[in-house]
């Protein structure tokens, strides 16, 4: 832990405006390479898969810590449903950035650089890793990058990362039974009849016959 903190501080002191490209080099030194092969063109479709079943996960423990903190800032426990991490969002993101396919390989540096940037920015502003910040400190950083069109130029790349990361977190959370319940997806059950929307709802929307 200390080594990593020292490394980041050293990096920051050498070049406070260091381009993200260099940080990618740094992150790849501590993360495994993505797999070369995927599930092929004839996988068993009836099997239930968990992240890591088909190709190994590659994020380092430090990256997963940052990833977890960010997932939970994006979708926290709000009393109605739990936080994103509790339903496996980090495992999904790890699976995603470790996958051997073009789209995911394109997202990989975005996510790895972004996670490194979150920690670097946290250290720069608060002398702590992102996961160690309190909520208001985490929000101070996220507020600057949460909407790319409004982000200051120096936060443009971090903003692009945040948008992508939010989409991954949202996809992961709402694809689970917990997410279904929160969002109100109540399908995927066999029915003997499908009757469509209730008449009073159609009436209310001005769609009654």
């Amino acid at each position: 832990m200390t080594d990593r903190r020292t490394t980041i501080k050293w990096m920051l002191s050498v070049a406070a405006t260091m381009p993200l490209l260099h940080q990618r080099t740094w992150s790849q030194e501590i993360t495994a390479q993505p797999a070369a092969r995927g599930y092929g063109t004839d996988p068993d479709l009836t099997k239930l898969y968990r992240p890591g079943d088909v190709w190994p996960l590659t994020l380092s423990a430090a990256e997963r810590r940052t990833a977890q903190a960010l997932c939970n800032v994006i979708l926290p426990d709000d009393g109605r449903s739990p936080d994103a991490t509790s339903v496996g969002a980090v495992d999904f993101i790890d699976e995603w950035v470790s996958a051997p396919y073009p789209h995911q390989l394109q997202d990989r540096p975005v996510v790895l650089e972004g996670l490194a940037w979150m920690d670097a920015e946290a250290l720069l502003r608060f002398e702590k890793y992102f996961a160690e910040l309190d909520e208001s400190q985490q929000h101070a950083i996220c507020d600057d990058i949460c909407y790319e069109p409004n982000a200051k130029p120096k936060f443009a790349r971090a903003g692009a990362f945040f948008a992508r990361y939010r989409d991954l977190t949202v996809g992961a959370f709402y694809s689970t039974p917990t997410g279904w319940k929160d969002i109100g997806y109540i399908g995927n059950v066999p029915l003997t009849k499908f009757e469509g929307p209730p008449a009073d709802l159609l009436q209310k929307l001005g769609l009654g016959s």
């Binding site: 995927g38 926290p76 996958a99 989409d167 969002i183 997806y185 399908g187 995927n188 499908f194």
Partner: protein, 597 residues
């Protein structure tokens, strides 16, 4: 279903097992004809292999599309997609507008296992397009020739929908269609607002059993006088369950509630005892006998790599339009140096796809609605048939042919892409606010897709590449592609129409409304309505087959897939492929009985 029995003597070889091969083999075997079916892909058993209730979070990457599963992990495509390992095809240009993307599926039943099940009849205009506007080609048949077969196919496979009596949108005979499914809230809203713009919205037609088939009445209508066939199909109709209003049809259906060749055509055909199916049989060419007739086919057993030959009195190619053209072009002989049945030079010519353009909108009226199950029949409860025939006749539109609109909204099963890009609506919310926003916006999106007619042209075709071969050593196809302005202008019209509908719904369009049709139009092949390549016509100079899908040059060689389409109406081609295949198979059985084949 796979049988190794290739040494037996067969009446007919059918190459391919999808909509065309399935229908051809079904009709022939029900008529007592001994059929050998060769399928290039592996055997596939929907009852065992369909992921019916598996959820996104049980799939790698939440089921997201990858090059190995281009329509998502649970999609019923095996060893296929835009690329097939070891079986390349090539393009004549790097220009993205000049390329054709070719979707294949190497499995028993082919693309019928995953298709959208949209089953629209071509109308009277669609068989005589050249007569109406001077473009493209007329078919050598009219709607009246095909109508009885549309009736039969609808009765056999089960198609829901209604007869609305709209222009060039034929009614079905009474009793052919199943009742349409209940629409969703978003469907009702689209209907109300689009109608204000003069766009008709009526129940869609899809091959999904909204109730059990009429196994008491239909068998006698399908197979008059053929008691054995009636008994078999009655039994199989009873074995097919009605829709259970859950799980996406694109995964296939283990309870046989929708049409796929593997659940509807092949089981009763096999039950006749007249059909043998050999899978992993990659056909390379049709063998020509000394008498100038087709003697059989050569194929590679994919498991061993060994080459085999099968013989029969009649050969039917139903391998998919372009694969059928490929087999013909690769079947060279002294008599046919440019490919079999190609004295016209038309084999590979006039490949067509469907014009496609999409747009989606977010509709405030649909926000924060009470949760309800909106799985329904997995889409297409309503659609908009083309409404602009009069405007086109009066010269009010700058493109010649029509399109229909497919649309859908609702609270679909969430996956990797659910609520993607929500910041366009929320200004970048995260935290507890994002959870509130997700509840608010989920289910408030409606997507529109135009599906329009492409006119055949001289610049869209396939040929054999002189260098590249697949892993079996079979020369591969090279594609040439060009849209005409009739298609690109139509795509731009789609974009404007969809934006108008979204606006009429009080919604906001989420993407750029493309006014340049060349950008609006989906690339060639993307809609996977590949037809043409060996069109039917009235004479041997201008076409490859006659109205019976029989090649002019080789009288015991038939093409019963989309290759024979002389035009590609906006109506999705599968139902017409089946109707023509049934008609051709009836003709084959009849001529065999008369010893003319």
């Amino acid at each position: 279903m796979t049988s190794p029995a290739t040494k037996k003597q067969y009446d007919v070889i059918v190459v391919g097992s999808g909509a065309a091969g399935g229908q051809t083999a079904y009709t022939l075997s029900m008529e007592g004809v001994k059929v050998l079916m060769l399928e290039a892909g592996r055997n596939y058993v929907p009852e065992r292999e369909t992921p019916m209730f598996q959820t996104s979070d049980q799939a790698p990457l939440l089921g997201a599309s990858t090059p190995e599963k281009a329509f998502g992990f649970h999609d019923a495509t095996i060893d296929g997609g835009w690329t097939v390992p070891g079986e390349p095809y090539v393009q004549s240009t790097d220009d993205p507008h000049g390329r054709f993307a070719w979707w294949r599926s190497r499995m028993l039943g082919g693309r019928t296992n995953h298709w959208g099940r949209i089953s629209l009849r071509n109308g009277p205009y669609d068989f005589k397009p050249h007569t109406r506007d001077g473009l493209g080609f007329d078919w050598p048949i009219s709607y009246e020739d095909v109508a009885p077969y549309y009736d039969k196919v609808e009765r056999l496979i089960g198609v829901y929908g209604t007869s609305e009596g709209l222009e060039n949108t034929p009614n079905s005979s009474p009793g052919c269609l199943l009742p349409p499914p209940a629409p969703l809230v978003s469907d009702y809203l689209v209907r109300q607002r689009a109608r204000r713009l003069g766009i008709p919205i009526v129940p869609g037609h899809r091959a999904v059993l909204t109730q059990q088939l009429d196994f008491k009445r239909s068998p006698a209508l399908l197979h008059p006088g053929n008691l054995k066939a009636q008994k078999i199909i009655a039994q199989h109709m009873q074995q097919r369950a009605a829709c259970i209003w859950a799980t996406d049809c694109g995964r296939g259906c283990s309870i046989r509630a929708n049409y796929q060749s593997t659940t509807v055509h092949l089981p009763p055909a096999v039950a006749t005892g007249n059909l043998d199916i050999v899978c992993n049989a990659m056909v390379s060419q049709v063998v020509l006998g000394r008498n100038g007739l087709a003697a059989g086919v050569k194929f590679f057993d994919k498991a061993t790599g060994a080459e085999h030959q099968a013989t029969a009195r009649v050969v039917v190619l139903a391998a998919s339009a372009c694969e059928t053209a490929r087999i013909l072009l690769n079947s060279k002989s002294g008599l046919f140096p440019n490919g079999l049945a190609n004295s016209s030079g038309k084999v590979g010519r006039y490949v067509m796809d469907t014009v496609g353009a999409d747009l989606s909108g977010q509709i405030p009226l649909l926000e924060s609605l009470p949760p309800q199950n909106e799985d329904g029949a997995s889409g297409h409860a309503f659609y908009a048939p083309w409404w602009g025939y009069q405007d086109q006749q009066n010269g009010k539109l700058n493109f010649a042919r029509g399109y229909h609109i497919e649309f859908g909204g609702g609270r679909r099963m969430p996956g990797a892409g659910t609520l993607r890009g929500l910041e366009r609506l929320t200004g970048g919310s995260y935290g507890k606010k994002l959870k509130e926003d997700a509840r608010r916006y989920y289910g408030s999106f409606v997507g529109f897709a135009g599906r329009g007619e492409m006119i055949p042209n001289e610049n869209s075709y396939c040929e054999i590449d002189p260098h590249v071969k697949d892993k079996w050593g079979i020369p591969v196809l090279r594609f040439h592609w060009k849209w005409s302005e009739h298609e690109t202008r139509q795509a731009a019209h789609m974009q404007k129409t969809f934006a108008d509908i979204v606006q009429a719904m009080g919604g906001r369009v989420l993407s750029k409304v493309e006014t340049d049709g060349a950008n609006a139009i989906a690339p060639g092949g993307f809609i996977i309505h590949e037809v043409g390549g060996a069109i039917m016509g009235k004479d041997r100079q201008s076409s490859v087959t006659n109205e019976w899908c029989q090649t002019w040059d080789v009288k015991n060689l038939f093409l019963t897939d989309g290759a024979v389409f002389a035009s590609n109406a906006d109506k999705n081609p599968t139902l017409t492929i089946m109707a023509l295949a049934w008609r051709a198979a009836d003709h084959i059985a009849d001529r065999m009985r008369r010893k003319e084949l």
